[in-house]
């Protein structure tokens, strides 16, 4: 793309006393790029926030059912995933630090490591969902429909409904994140993202932090509320 090599020279505005003021253009506006992405993160927070609100509301309505349903989730696999995601946030952050300090090769390595951890996360998640499915707990199965012999109580239907919705949506964000990281590697390889111009890297690291932050709330809310229950 030819225009990226075309250097942008900011304009100068002159006031009535002859003082010169640099005009901020949309080109090369790193601060604007960061601001825009922070605002986008805010929309994600609102979206997941609404779902947490729904969850809280039903937790107050169906307290015992929620705790029982939560105790049936696999805390080991969930816990492993939490650790995996935390480490991936670390590798992502280290990658950005390396990029800033000029170590492009190290940064790429860290991005690959993050992607590997993301794939592991998805693999564990798939295993967990498969186990749930075998136990008759999955969207659309009879246990989560009302009015038949396998029907679970209302609270458990709601709990698992929200569980699959929210972890599913979170998993979708992980997949998007892997795509973004592949794109980032492509941009680094073609020299569009450099230690001086790392806004894309910064924003994707920010995105990954949010994805991991959401999990930090999802994990205790779904897995830990029933941790001490009798059925656990």
């Amino acid at each position: 793309m030819a225009h990226d090599s075309h250097e942008y020279i900011p304009e100068i505005a002159v006031d009535r006393n002859g003082n010169e003021h640099v005009v901020q253009g949309w080109q090369g506006d790193n601060y604007g790029g960061k601001l825009g992405f922070w605002l986008f993160m805010l929309t994600e927070v609102m979206m997941f926030g609404a779902m947490f609100m729904v969850l809280t509301y039903y937790f107050t309505l169906h307290h015992a059912d929620f705790i029982k349903a939560s105790s049936e989730l696999d805390r080991t696999l969930g816990g492993i995933n939490t650790v995996v995601l935390l480490i991936s946030a670390l590798t992502m952050g280290l990658g950005l630090l390396k990029m800033r300090s000029g170590d492009v090769k190290g940064a790429k390595l860290m991005i690959w490591a993050t992607m590997l951890l993301a794939v592991i996360f998805l693999g564990v998640k798939a295993l967990e969902w498969t186990n749930d499915y075998k136990e008759g707990i999955f969207l659309g199965l009879q246990g989560l429909q009302s009015g038949n012999e396998f029907s679970k109580p209302f609270g458990e239907i709601l709990f698992f409904g929200m569980y699959f919705t929210m972890t599913g949506l979170h998993g979708f964000h992980i997949i998007i994140g892997i795509g973004l990281m592949l794109w980032l590697l492509k941009r680094i390889n073609s020299g569009k993202v450099t230690p001086e111009h790392n806004i894309l890297h910064f924003n994707i690291a920010l995105y990954w932090d949010l994805v991991h932050l959401i999990w930090v709330f999802v994990f205790p809310y779904f897995y830990m509320t029933g941790a001490g229950a009798i059925h656990g």
């Binding site: 006031d15 009535r16 080109q27 605002l39």
Partner: protein, 558 residues
């Protein structure tokens, strides 16, 4: 002129030769704004046609032209198009794009490629929304449509159980919501980053303030309805149980989540419209706006308080009395900043040199219609009155006085105001004024009887009615005929203006804000020749003449 950065990159990608492809791929904010306007007004007329069909049907009690089921689909179609395709993108997508960057002296929005992407996301949303319109079959020699019949609100549990095509409407609303979020995000960053040097927040034109407040609502409220629609979809197809009482869910929760967005959405519609009013009133009173700071801050406070009033849609849905009282109080509270704006506009006109050009006529007309719309809103904010008037034609009349008589009328005002800026030509003012009077009379004839019918108990969304309501429906019908004739005449006048209008120079209205100081009209690709240094307030007049003047290099020469 040497080739600039922008000349080479004004397409999202590639360097197409054909003019058509250059428009399709353009990242130029002005072209994108014009494309939005064309698409939006096309759909506007589809929705008007749906509304007119309903008016024909309601001319007499009993069945006339369409059956009850088609009637339900007609009001759903009308609502979905008007709300999601027309009025929510509305003024921000058109004038926010075309005018806002010009007003702050920017070359474009902050993310021009994102702006292009957003436009096409909007188009995809439109296609998905209307795709089910073409999913019809012919049974017993009659057309049977498969469009959603839930109303634009998609209330659970009916929307979860109906066999019609709710899924496309829900998905479309989600995609259009994303487009709306990205537009708001783009504008927020633009307003924060790209203001001309010297222009602080309190030197921005008030339309920019309106867009700014709106952008925050788009950003913060839209994700909530987005996820609600996704949850409703998952509910419909996987039965996750959230809104379905037969699985322990709570349908009232759907209403809460829906209105958490959809009530702020009406402020999202009206705030930029108020911004247009705040541009037109000083320009045609030839007087600096009265109470600039109060208007600017009232936009911000309407956006803030408007976020907390959604519960007044649920007074009859089952909510605790404490919650009702709080929501009722907060709803009254929104009327205060709105009232402040009204008094400021009236005070601006006091002792001004009022020029009754077409945009000013529209603005003044809106003062009447929106005052009725706004104040009738306060009456139904009262819990007791609302129990009586909820879901009646009274509420419908209030809504249309506020939205059609407020937002759309000011949209028309903006079209007449910025028409010479966008096209460099002037429409026939005599005809445009005539169109205003026709529309104004038709509008009041169409909607005012509904206040009375609703007060006597005519419910909304009904296919049939008792004979005693016939007179109101028939007055409304004739009002609708006049209104639609006026619409056709107005657009005819405007289109004739584009084709045959006289060139009018860069500043035909003697207005003061930066968008009227461009080197040519229509504006060139990179807007102002040079970015000015802004050390003046937006509406400075002295003895009816603009104070601030620029030379061709945007240096002040007054």
């Amino acid at each position: 002129m040497s080739k600039s950065y922008f000349d080479e990159t004004h397409c999202a990608f590639g360097h197409p030769k054909s003019t058509f492809m250059q428009w399709m791929l353009t990242v130029d904010h002005k072209r994108i704004g014009i494309m939005y306007a064309v698409v939006m007004f096309t759909f506007f007329f589809v929705a008007v046609a749906a509304a007119l069909t309903m008016r024909f049907e309601l001319f007499a009690p009993g069945q006339q032209f369409i059956d009850a089921h088609t009637f339900n689909q007609a009001f759903t179609l009308h609502g979905v198009i008007m709300v999601f395709l027309f009025i929510i993108p509305g003024i921000p997508a058109v004038f926010g794009n075309i005018v806002m960057p010009l007003m702050i002296g920017a070359k474009d929005v902050s993310f021009p490629r994102l702006n292009w992407f957003t436009f096409w996301l909007y188009i995809i949303g439109c296609i998905v929304a209307l795709s089910s319109l073409f999913n019809f079959n012919i049974a017993d020699g009659k057309l049977v449509f498969n469009f959603a019949d839930t109303g634009w609100t998609f209330y659970a549990p009916y929307s979860l159980n109906t066999d019609t095509n709710v899924v496309t409407a829900l998905v479309a609303a989600f995609i259009l919501g994303m487009a709306s979020i990205l537009t708001g995000l783009n504008f927020l960053v633009t307003i924060h980053r790209l203001r001309a040097p010297g222009m602080d927040f309190f030197k921005m034109p008030l339309f920019v303030w309106g867009i700014y407040a709106t952008a925050w609502i788009q950003l913060l409220a839209t994700p909530v309805v987005g996820i609600t629609l996704i949850l409703a979809l998952l509910e419909k197809y996987f039965g996750i149980g959230i809104f379905d009482p037969s699985k322990g869910g709570d349908p009232v929760l759907f209403q809460h989540l829906f209105w958490i967005y959809s009530h702020p959405a009406v402020y999202l519609m009206i705030l930029p419209a108020f911004g247009i009013m705040s541009e037109i009133i000083p320009a045609f009173s030839r007087r600096e706006i009265f109470g600039y700071h109060t208007i600017a801050l009232s936009s911000a406070s309407i956006a803030g308080v408007g976020y907390l009033v959604w519960g007044h849609h649920l007074f009859t849905s089952g909510m605790s009395d404490t919650a009702k009282t709080i929501f009722s109080f907060l709803t009254f509270f929104v009327a205060i900043p709105t009232g402040v704006k009204f008094y400021d506009w009236v005070a601006t006109m006091y002792k001004g040199k009022i020029v009754l050009a077409t945009p000013m006529l529209w603005a003044l007309g809106t003062m009447i219609t929106f005052a009725i719309g706004g104040l009738s809103g306060v009456t139904i904010a009262m819990i007791g009155a609302d129990i009586h008037l909820q879901d009646t034609y009274y509420t419908i009349a209030h809504f249309h006085y506020a939205m059609l008589g407020g937002v759309v009328f000011l949209f028309f005002a903006g079209i007449h105001y910025w028409f010479p800026l966008v096209f460099g030509k002037m429409y026939n003012e005599t005809r445009a004024k005539l169109a205003f009077y026709i529309l104004f009379i038709g509008f009041n004839l169409l909607w005012f009887p509904m206040f009375i019918a609703g007060y006597y108990g005519m419910p909304r969304r009904y296919f049939d009615y008792l004979p005693e309501f016939q007179i109101y429906h028939q007055i409304s019908f004739w009002g609708a005929i006049i209104f639609v004739s006026g619409l056709i005449f107005m657009f005819y006048t405007l289109i004739q203006g584009i084709r045959k209008g006289k060139p009018c120079g860069v500043n035909p209205w003697n207005a003061t804000t930066l968008e009227w100081h461009l080197p040519s009209s229509p504006p060139p690709l990179e807007n102002h020749t040079k970015v000015p240094y802004v050390d003046f307030r937006p509406y400075e007049y002295y003895h009816g003449q603009p104070v601030v003047k620029f030379d061709e290099n945007m240096k002040r020469i007054d």
